[in-house]
């Protein structure tokens, strides 16, 4: 899967949870889920579940803790896809 496609998919997944829509305008690997998009921290769990469903992978608690930015998420998805 191309990097660009993964980023697009993440953007689509995170959009309904985003409380700061301006954060989506400049969506890139540096985008921070909580600081830039103001995703409620409780909803991060739902983002993870949606990512799991989209890519058919499982993200353990440890990997989840390291998922602060879009780039972190992309790297974890790539890793899991490679090892699947």
């Amino acid at each position: 899967m191309k990097e660009k496609d993964i980023l697009e998919a993440i953007k689509k997944i995170v959009t309904p949870y985003t409380q700061r829509p301006q954060g989506l305008e400049n969506f890139n690997e540096e985008t921070d889920f909580i600081k830039d998009l103001e995703v409620n921290s409780a909803n991060l769990v739902d983002v993870i579940l949606d990512v799991e469903d989209e890519f058919n992978i499982e993200i353990d608690n440890e990997s989840m803790e390291g998922m602060l930015t879009v780039g972190d998420a992309k790297n974890i998805i790539e890793q899991k896809l490679a090892s699947a």
């Binding site: 309904p16 949870y17 409780a42 909803n43 769990v45 739902d46 579940l49």
Partner: protein, 420 residues
């Protein structure tokens, strides 16, 4: 000094009408909200009919954000949020996105059980070893106080925000809890109400107790027959009712419409003694509760124009009237009606939906007719003259109305409303 408390807003999600105008129209015409439920037939219920509010997805989307709707599977929260938000707006109050909450406004919004369908989802996932797949809203959709928590966040209330639970008295009790808080000067406004989930997992236990009618699956609108000789048990319902209670001075100051004043009321329990049990009321406690409500409201029994009873359509309806008769000690009897002929018994939501129906009658000068009561129970006919049990809606001013609710656990509550 004790503050006076008035009602300045209402909202309702009932099986026979969503929104005040539709609901008023339905209760004036005696329209039933009881329908056949295929799901109950498939699940082999004896009673395959129920009262369920009719809501479209578009309507729900007006009250919840798209994010809130994702995975929302708690019908009680849907009903309660719609009724509560409507009541707030009906009172002319704004929903503001301020940094500070409204410290003077609180919520008492009760429920019997909440988020049953969401809980079922969770049980299936947990039993399959997939607890991590529950998502983030399993807790808030199933905690009893989920309904007051959702409303508290939507409305930004900063006073007490809580949920009460006392079976079928829940809604009436919530109203009295909010009343007391304002009367004591601890809040200016309290949104009070209650909600009840729908569905087989809520209603199944009652079906198992064989207290629901089983012979009306083909003619559902005739099934709920309060005060009739052929009353065969209560029809299960669901929904929500909500009222904004407000300190009289505050309501006057902002020029709000005042529906009625809450004069007072009483709650008590029969202690499951003296004929009372988990499911039956101790009559002494009921009589005491009525008398106390009248006493605290500072009125005489003669002043009561209308009683909106609990009257669920069981063989106990006669006893309820007898208790009123003993408590009032007057030669005649007020008009009396029961909403449940049209909505079924909306369980935790019944008290608040019926309070809304009560106050609507006062505001619009009518007494709604009792449906399915052509064959008045002779036991009741011996106690009350037939004309006091209207079968058709009467256009008549109502000055003082008494509303009672009784519930499992032998708990009672009575509230007295007065037109201003």
């Amino acid at each position: 000094m004790k503050k006076r408390v008035v009602i300045t807003g209402m909202g309702v999600v009932a099986p026979n009408g969503v929104g005040l105008a539709n609901f008023e129209d339905a209760i004036r015409k005696g329209e039933s909200g009881i329908r056949f439920e295929e799901e109950l037939e498939r699940l082999k219920f004896s009673c395959q009919i129920a009262g369920k509010p009719q809501l479209s997805e578009e309507k729900i989307a007006e009250y919840f954000t798209p994010l809130q709707i994702r995975g929302l599977n708690s019908s009680g929260i849907v009903y309660g949020v719609i009724a509560g938000t409507d009541a707030w707006q009906d009172a002319g109050l704004k929903i503001e996105e301020n940094e500070q909450p409204d410290w003077d406004s609180g919520i008492v919004f009760g429920t019997g059980i909440l988020g049953v369908d969401k809980f079922r989802e969770a049980i299936h996932l947990i039993d399959a070893g997939k607890t991590r797949r529950l998502g983030s809203t399993s807790v808030m959709q199933t905690m009893a106080s989920g309904i007051s928590a959702y409303l508290g966040g939507i409305l930004g209330c900063g006073n007490q925000v809580t949920t009460n639970s006392s079976a079928c008295t829940t809604g009436t009790e919530a109203l009295l809890m909010g009343f007391e808080r304002i009367a004591a000067g601890k809040a200016k406004r309290m949104l009070v109400g209650s909600c009840s989930d729908h569905g087989p997992y809520v209603w199944g236990g009652f079906d198992a107790m064989r207290i629901l009618p089983s012979k009306y699956n083909k003619n559902p609108t005739e099934a709920s027959r309060p005060m009739s000789a052929s009353a065969a048990g209560f029809v299960p319902g669901s929904g929500a009712g909500a009222l904004v209670l407000e300190e009289y001075e505050s309501a006057k100051e902002r020029g709000a419409k005042i529906y009625a004043e809450v004069l007072g009321g009483a709650v008590n329990s029969g202690g499951q003694r003296g004929g009372g049990s988990m499911t039956a009321a101790n009559s002494d406690a009921v009589i005491r509760c009525i008398k106390e409500a009248i006493h605290f409201s500072n009125i005489s029994t003669e002043e009561i124009d209308v009683i909106n009873g609990h009257l669920t359509a069981t063989t106990k309806d006669g006893l309820e009237i007898e208790n009123w008769k003993k408590a009032l000690e007057r030669s005649d009897f007020p008009y009396i009606n029961s909403l449940k002929g049209m909505t079924g018994h909306c369980l935790g939501a019944s008290g608040s939906i019926e309070c809304v129906a009560s106050v609507l009658q006062m505001d619009k000068n009518f007494i709604f007719g009792n449906v399915n009561c052509e064959d008045l129970n002779p036991e009741i006919a011996n106690l009350v003259s037939e004309e006091k049990i209207p079968r058709k809606t009467l256009e008549k001013p109502v000055n003082i109305l008494a509303k009672s609710s009784f519930g499992f656990g032998d708990v009672n509550s009575v509230v007295i409303f007065k037109k201003l």
